[in-house]
C-alpha cells in the first residue's frame, strides 16, 4: 500500500468517527436535553381524553322545589371539524339536516359559525365554545328524527344524536325568576384560560367542552353546581384504535344549590309587579287621573332578620327555557334590545334610580345624628326658598302648611321639612366653601345605611348607586367640564334644543364642582344626583325594621351534595349597624308604621287588616327629567314584629301609593294568609307566614322531600325524582314532562 492510500485511510477513519460523533451529539440533545418535551408530545400522541360532562346540580327554592333541574333529551349535535373536511365544507349536510330537523338553514348556519368569524352573529347565537367540540343544534328532537339521522350516518357525517342532560325549568307555580337564575353557555377560550390560571393547568376542572353559568345564580355558584367532569384517558394507536384505558375518573354530579327563594312567593311577586305596571298604565286605578307609560319594574321580598331574598322580580322578564336548545338570533336580539326593555337585566340589582322620598329615612337619621330635634316642630310650607337667593323648591306630594314633627313629615312625605333640615346641615358643614374634610351629615348617614356601594348580594353585576358628595361632585364636574362649558358645540342637537339643559349647563360650568345649596337640599329627598338600586333601598329598610343591623342580602341558603349532605351553609351576615341611635331607629319605625294608617298611603289600606298585620311603609315618587315619575313603595311587616321587607319600584309608574302600594299589599296578603280583614295563617303561602328556618331534605338517592304544595304540574306528594343522580328516574321524569308539553 502506498503512503497516499495509508493517509487517505486515516482521513477516512477520521470521517467515519466524526459521523458517529455527530449522531451521538444529536441523540444527546434529543434524548437527554429535550427528552421531557418529546415525552410530553408522545403522551399527547397516544392518549385521547374522553370527557363525560358532569350532570349540573339543581337549584332549589327554600322548601326544595326545583327552580332549575335537568332532564334528558335527545340532542342533535354537529362536529364542525368533520364538516370542514368535506369538499363543500359540509354545506350539503347542513342543508339536509335543516330539512330533517325542520330548522331554517340560516339558523343552523348561524349556530355552527364560530363567534368572531366574519359574518358571525352575536354570542350566544354563534358558537362560543371550542371549535373541536360538537355543537348542539337541536334539543328535544323526536326519536324518529334522531333515528333518521343516526341510521343514515353516511349521509350525515359529523352529525350525532345522543341522550344528553339539559337544563329544565319546571317553574313551580309558574315562577320564572329568569334573571335570578341566569343561564349556561359554552365556556369561551378566555374563560378557560382564566380558570386554568386560577386552578392551574393540571388541576383545572374546566375543559373546553364545558358549559358554564352566565348571569344569575348559575354564574355565581358555577363552582358548586358544575360538578366534576368524568375523564377517561384512553391509549390509542396511530390509527386511533383504542388499545386500553390509562386512567379513568367518573363524573361527579354537581351539588344542589338551596336558595332562600320561595317559588310561590316569587310567582306572586312576579304577578304583582306586572299588575302594578298595568295599574300604572290605567288612569284611576293608579290613584291619578292619567295613564303612566310604565313598562318596567322591580320587586323584592327579603327576610328582615337575615337579609335572605325570598323573591326578586324584574320586569320585563323572559322564559328561562329559551336558552335550552340554543337561542335564536331574533330571540337574543329581543332579550338584549332596549325596545323590548332589556329582559336580561335584573333591575332589582342593576337598575339605578332616584330613590326619592324613600330616602327620607336617611334625612331623618342624618338630622338626628346632627343633633336636630325629632319632634320639631318643623314647618311644612308649600315651597322652600334657599335663603339669600331666589332658588325655590316645592313640595310634591304633601301640600299643607302646618307645623309638624319629623315623624309626621315622613308620614305625609313633606319635602319642604327635609329641604329645610338639609339646608341647615349644609350650612353647618360649611356650605359651599366647606373643604374636603368637612362633615357630611346626610351622605355619611346614607353610606352607613348601605347607599352608594354594592350591598354584596350573591348575584353578578350589582350596581352601586350614587351618593353625590363633595368629592364626587368635583370629579364629575371635571369629567363633564367640556360638555357644560362648550354646550353649544358638543351637546347633541336634541340637548341643544332644550333650554333647561342649556341653563343647567351654564350654571354647572361656573360652579358645578361645588356642592351648592340646591344640590344639598335635593339630596335630602333622594333627588338631584342621588341614585339607588331597589335592592339598596330594601337593604336599608330591612336594617331599620330589625332595629339597626344591616344584613348582606343573600339568595343562596346552602349547598347540598348529590347525596343530601350539607356542603356549605350560608349563614346570615351582619354587615354593621346603621349610624343612628336605637331611639332614632324606633322613632323612624313608628313614623313608617303610621304611613299606611294616617300618612301618604293610608287611602290604600281601607280594606287591609292593619290591626292584625300592621305594615310600615314609605312612598316615593321620583322626579326624572323628561320622564314620568318613578313609583316607589318600600315597606316591611308586621310593623310590630317585622319579618319581611317588601319593596316595589315602577319607573314611569306614577306615585308610590297609587301604583306600587296595592301590589305590595297583595304580596303581604299572600305571605300572611290575609283574607278580607281576617288573617288565616293556614292560607299563608309560606308556612304560617314565617320565614323558612330549615333546609329541605335531599335523600341519599337524590330525591327531594317536597312540601305538599310543590307547585309542580302533575307531580306526586312524595317528591319528584331528581334528574341528576338516578338515570332511570330522570328519564321517567323527562318522559313525563314531554308528555305534558305538547
Amino acid at each position: 500500500m502506498t503512503d497516499r492510500s495509508r493517509t487517505r485511510l486515516v482521513v477516512l477513519q477520521v470521517l467515519v468517527f466524526s459521523l458517529l460523533a455527530a449522531l451521538g451529539g444529536r441523540l444527546w440533545y434529543m434524548q437527554v436535553v429535550a427528552g421531557a418535551e418529546y415525552q410530553a408530545a408522545a403522551s399527547e400522541n397516544r392518549i385521547r381524553e374522553v370527557v363525560t360532562p358532569a350532570v349540573r346540580g339543581a337549584i332549589l327554592d327554600a322548601q326544595g322545589r326545583p327552580l332549575v333541574q335537568n332532564r334528558t333529551s335527545l340532542v342533535v349535535s354537529v362536529d364542525r371539524s368533520t364538516l370542514l373536511d368535506l369538499p363543500d365544507d359540509g354545506d350539503q349536510v347542513v342543508r339536509k339536516l335543516s330539512r330533517v330537523l325542520d330548522i331554517p338553514y340560516r339558523r343552523l348556519d348561524r349556530q355552527l359559525t364560530l363567534c368572531g368569524a366574519p359574518g358571525a352573529a352575536e354570542p350566544p347565537v354563534c358558537w362560543n365554545g371550542s371549535p373541536y367540540q360538537p355543537i348542539p343544534v337541536a334539543e328535544d328532537v323526536p326519536a324518529n328524527t334522531a333515528l333518521q339521522v343516526m341510521e343514515r350516518g353516511e349521509e350525515f357525517p359529523g352529525v350525532a344524536a345522543e341522550m344528553t342532560a339539559i337544563r329544565d325549568y319546571p317553574a313551580p307555580f309558574g315562577a320564572r325568576a329568569a334573571q335570578l337564575l341566569g343561564y349556561i353557555g359554552p365556556i369561551s377560550a378566555d374563560e378557560l384560560a382564566a380558570a386554568e390560571a386560577k386552578e392551574g393547568r393540571r388541576g383545572s376542572t374546566y375543559t373546553n367542552f364545558d358549559l358554564v353559568g352566565r348571569g344569575g345564580l348559575e354564574q355565581v355558584y358555577d363552582g358548586f353546581l358544575r360538578g366534576k367532569p368524568g375523564v377517561k384517558k384512553l391509549a390509542v394507536d396511530s390509527a386511533g384504535n383504542v388499545t386500553g384505558t390509562v386512567a379513568e375518573r367518573d363524573a361527579t354530579p354537581g351539588n344542589y344549590l338551596v336558595t332562600s327563594i320561595d317559588a310561590h312567593v316569587q310567582k306572586v311577586v312576579e304577578d304583582q309587579l306586572k299588575a302594578a305596571i298595568k295599574r300604572a298604565n290605567t288612569p284611576g286605578e293608579n290613584g291619578q287621573d292619567r295613564a303612566f307609560p310604565a313598562k318596567t319594574g322591580a320587586a323584592i321580598v327579603m327576610e328582615v332578620d337575615t337579609g335572605r331574598v325570598v323573591a326578586m322580580a324584574s320586569y320585563p322578564d323572559y322564559n328561562p327555557g329559551i336558552w335550552v336548545g340554543g337561542v335564536t338570533n331574533d330571540q337574543f336580539a329581543r332579550l338584549s334590545s332596549e325596545k323590548a326593555g332589556n329582559p336580561l337585566i335584573n333591575r332589582a340589582i342593576q337598575g339605578e334610580y332616584a330613590p326619592a322620598s324613600t330616602f327620607k329615612i336617611v334625612g331623618a337619621a342624618a338630622a338626628a345624628a346632627a343633633g336636630y330635634s325629632l319632634n320639631g316642630p318643623y314647618q311644612c310650607s308649600d315651597q322652600f326658598t334657599v335663603p339669600g337667593s331666589t332658588q325655590t323648591f316645592s313640595n310634591f306630594e304633601a301640600g299643607m302648611t302646618e307645623s309638624m314633627t319629623l315623624a309626621r313629615a315622613i308620614e305625609v312625605s313633606c319635602n319642604t321639612v327635609f329641604y329645610g333640615l338639609a339646608y341647615r346641615m349644609y350650612v353647618e358643614e360649611g356650605g359651599q366653601d366647606a373643604g374636603p374634610n368637612a362633615p357630611e351629615y346626610l351622605m355619611n348617614t346614607a353610606r352607613g345605611l348601605g347607599y352608594g356601594s354594592t350591598t354584596g348580594i350573591d348575584l353578578p353585576s350589582e350596581a352601586a348607586g350614587r351618593l353625590p358628595d363633595r368629592e364626587w361632585r368635583q370629579q364629575y364636574w371635571e369629567d363633564n367640564k367640556n360638555y357644560y362649558c362648550n354646550f353649544d358645540e358638543v351637546a347633541s342637537a336634541a340637548d341643544r334644543a332644550n333650554d333647561y339643559l342649556r341653563a343647567i349647563a351654564k350654571e354647572n360650568c361656573v360652579d358645578g364642582y361645588l356642592l351648592r345649596p340646591g344640590d344639598a337640599v335635593l339630596a335630602a329627598i333622594g333627588q338631584g344626583d342621588v341614585l339607588a338600586t331597589p335592592l339598596q333601598v330594601a337593604h336599608a329598610y330591612g336594617a331599620i325594621a330589625n332595629g339597626g343591623t344591616l344584613y348582606r342580602p343573600q339568595v343562596a341558603r346552602a349547598v347540598l351534595s348529590p347525596e343530601g349532605q350539607v356542603v356549605k351553609n350560608f349563614k346570615p351576615k351582619a354587615q354593621g349597624k346603621v349610624p343612628a341611635s336605637n331611639t332614632t331607629v324606633q322613632y323612624i319605625q313608628n313614623a313608617l308604621a303610621n304611613v299606611p294608617v294616617s300618612g301618604s298611603a293610608a287611602y290604600r289600606y281601607t280594606t287591609f287588616p292593619l290591626d292584625k298585620i300592621p305594615v310600615a311603609a314609605k312612598t316615593g315618587t321620583g322626579q326624572v327629567e323628561g320622564k314620568a315619575t318613578t313609583s316607589w313603595y318600600a315597606s316591611y311587616a308586621p310593623a310590630n314584629d317585622p319579618k319581611y321587607v317588601v319593596l316595589m319600584m315602577v319607573p314611569e309608574g306614577g306615585t308610590g301609593s297609587g301604583t306600587s302600594a296595592p301590589s305590595v299589599n297583595e304580596i303581604y296578603k299572600a305571605l300572611f294568609g290575609i283574607e278580607g280583614l281576617q288573617v288565616n295563617p293556614k292560607k299563608a303561602i309560606v308556612p304560617d307566614g314565617n320565614p323558612i328556618k330549615t333546609l329541605p331534605t335531599v335523600n341519599a338517592d337524590g330525591t327531594i322531600d317536597l312540601p305538599k304544595d310543590d307547585g309542580l304540574p302533575g307531580s306526586s306528594e312524595s317528591g319528584i325524582p331528581a334528574a341528576n343522580t338516578d338515570d332511570k328516574k330522570s328519564k321517567k321524569n323527562g318522559r313525563r314532562r314531554r308528555r305534558e308539553t305538547p
Binding site: 500500500m1 502506498t2 497516499r4 492510500s5 495509508r6 487517505r8 485511510l9 482521513v11 477516512l12 477513519q13 470521517l15 467515519v16 468517527f17 459521523l19 458517529l20 455527530a22 449522531l23 451521538g24 444529536r26 441523540l27 444527546w28 434529543m30 434524548q31 437527554v32 429535550a34 427528552g35 421531557a36 418535551e37 418529546y38 415525552q39 408530545a41 408522545a42 403522551s43 400522541n45 397516544r46 391509549a235 390509542v236 394507536d237 396511530s238 390509527a239 388499545t243
Partner: protein, 394 residues
C-alpha cells in the same frame, strides 16, 4: 512473503496437525478469525431481531406476533451461511468471478425495473414465490465493492496512482448500477453506492483534484436534475421535509415528526424493552425496517441508542483495521468500500430518524428487518473476514 501469495490457512499442509493444534495454532482459522468484528456484527443482528420483534409484536388477533422475529432470525441464519461461504474461498480468486457477480447484479437491477414490485414509491424489489422478496440493489453494493477494488488495484509497474483510463472505466462500471438504482427511484441506495465509489477511488490514491471534480460533478448533476425537472416537486419536498416537516405533513413530514417524538421520548434510559408506547401504537411507519432505530431509541433510551452506535463503531473500527492491514491493495480497497458502505448507510439511516438527514429509504445494516439487506451485510462481513484471514502473519 514478497513473492506470490502468503500461505493460506486452508493450505493442505496445515491440515495435518492435531485437531487441537489446528484449532489453536497461531495461524489457525479460529485464532486468525476476527472475533471482535464478528461478535459486534452478530450483536447488531441479534439486537435487530429483538427490536424487530418489539416493532411487530402488536398484530391483529389470529396473526403470529413473532412472524417478523422468526423471519429476521431466519434471514440472519442465511446471512451467516452466506457470509461463511464468502469467507471460505480465497478472496483473490474473487477477481475471476467479479465480472460475473457484477453482471448478475446489473441484470437483477434491470429485472427489478421490469418485473419489480413497488414499495414506498421505489420499484426495488422482486417478488419471489413463497412471500419472499429480493432487492438486487443490496447485492449490487457487494458487487461494487469487489468490482471497483479489482479494477483499481491493478497497477502497471511504477504507477502509484490510478490513471485516467482506470478511473474512467471504474466510473463507467459504477455509473450503470447507480443509474439503474436512481431509476427505481431509490436515491438513498444510489448515494450509498456513490460513497462506496468515492471511498475506493480516494483510498486507491486517485488525485485529489479528480476527486474534487467528481464531487462537484455530483453536486452539479443533482442541481441540474432539480432544475430541469427530472424530479417532481413532491419529490423535492420529500427530500427537504426532514428540515421542514410542514412541506409534506401527511407523508415524510409526519414520519419525521413521529420519529423525532419517539426518539426524544426515550430519554436517558428509555421506556424499557417492549414498553415503548409510540412503538406499540405504531406511530412511526416502517418502524421494523427503515425506522427500526426509533424502537431502539424509545425503548432503550440514550444508553441503548449509543450502545447500537458503539457496536457500529466496533464494526467500522475492525473493518478499517482490516483495510489497513490487508495483504494487498485489492483487500484494502474492498474493505474500504465496505467501510464506506456501512458507515454512510448507518449515518444516513440514523440521521434520517433523528432529523439531520433527508428521508431516503435505506435500512440500518444488520438491525433493520429485510432479507436481502441481511444477506448482503453478512456477505460483506464474510469478505472482511476473508481479507483478514489471508493477511500475512507478522
Amino acid at each position: 512473503m514478497t513473492l506470490g501469495y502468503p500461505q493460506t490457512v486452508l493450505s493442505p499442509r496445515r491440515r495435518r496437525g492435531s485437531l487441537r493444534a489446528r484449532a489453536m495454532g497461531r495461524d489457525s482459522i479460529l485464532r486468525r478469525f476476527d472475533w471482535v468484528l464478528f461478535i459486534a456484527a452478530l450483536g447488531l443482528s441479534v439486537a435487530g431481531a429483538v427490536f424487530v420483534y418489539s416493532a411487530t409484536r402488536v398484530v391483529p388477533a389470529g396473526e403470529d406476533p413473532q412472524a417478523y422475529f422468526k423471519r429476521h432470525l431466519l434471514n440472519l441464519m442465511i446471512g451467516l451461511l452466506l457470509g461463511f461461504a464468502t469467507m471460505l474461498f480465497d478472496y483473490r480468486t474473487l477477481r475471476a468471478y467479479a465480472p460475473f457477480v457484477y453482471i448478475a447484479s446489473v441484470i437483477g437491477l434491470v429485472a427489478v425495473l421490469v418485473v419489480g414490485t413497488e414499495i414506498n414509491g421505489a420499484q426495488a424489489w422482486i417478488q419471489l414465490p413463497g412471500g419472499f422478496t429480493i432487492q438486487p440493489s443490496e447485492f449490487m453494493k457487494v458487487a461494487l465493492a469487489v468490482g471497483l477494488a479489482m479494477l483499481l488495484a491493478e497497477r502497471r509497474d511504477g504507477e502509484t496512482e490510478p490513471q485516467l483510463p482506470d478511473v474512467a472505466f471504474a466510473l463507467l462500471i459504477a455509473a450503470v448500477p447507480i443509474g439503474l438504482v436512481m431509476l427505481q427511484p431509490d436515491l438513498g441506495t444510489a448515494v450509498v453506492m456513490g460513497m462506496i465509489v468515492l471511498g475506493i477511488l480516494a483510498v486507491a490514491g486517485t488525485r485529489i483534484s479528480w476527486l474534487v471534480a467528481l464531487l462537484v460533478l455530483g453536486v452539479v448533476g443533482a442541481f441540474i436534475a432539480v432544475q430541469v425537472g427530472v424530479l417532481d416537486q413532491y419529490q423535492i419536498d420529500r427530500l427537504l421535509a426532514f428540515a421542514n416537516p410542514d412541506l409534506d405533513p401527511q407523508g415524510v413530514g409526519y414520519n419525521t415528526n413521529q420519529a423525532r417524538i419517539t426518539v426524544g421520548a426515550g430519554s436517558i434510559f428509555g421506556a424499557g424493552l417492549f414498553h415503548g408506547t409510540q412503538t406499540a401504537g405504531g406511530f412511526v411507519p416502517e418502524q421494523q425496517t427503515d425506522f427500526i432505530y426509533t424502537v431502539v431509541a424509545e425503548e432503550m433510551g440514550f444508553v441503548g441508542s449509543i450502545g447500537i452506535i458503539a457496536l457500529f463503531a466496533v464494526v467500522l473500527w475492525r473493518a478499517l483495521r482490516i483495510a489497513v492491514r490487508a495483504e494487498d491493495l485489492f483487500g484494502t480497497l474492498m474493505a474500504t468500500g465496505i467501510v464506506c458502505w456501512f458507515a454512510f448507510q448507518m449515518f444516513q439511516n440514523i440521521g434520517m430518524v433523528i432529523g439531520i438527514m433527508p428521508v431516503t429509504g435505506v435500512p440500518l445494516p444488520f438491525v433493520s428487518y429485510g432479507g436481502t439487506s441481511m444477506f448482503a451485510n453478512w456477505m460483506a462481513i464474510g469478505l472482511l473476514e476473508n481479507v483478514h484471514l489471508r493477511r500475512a502473519l507478522r
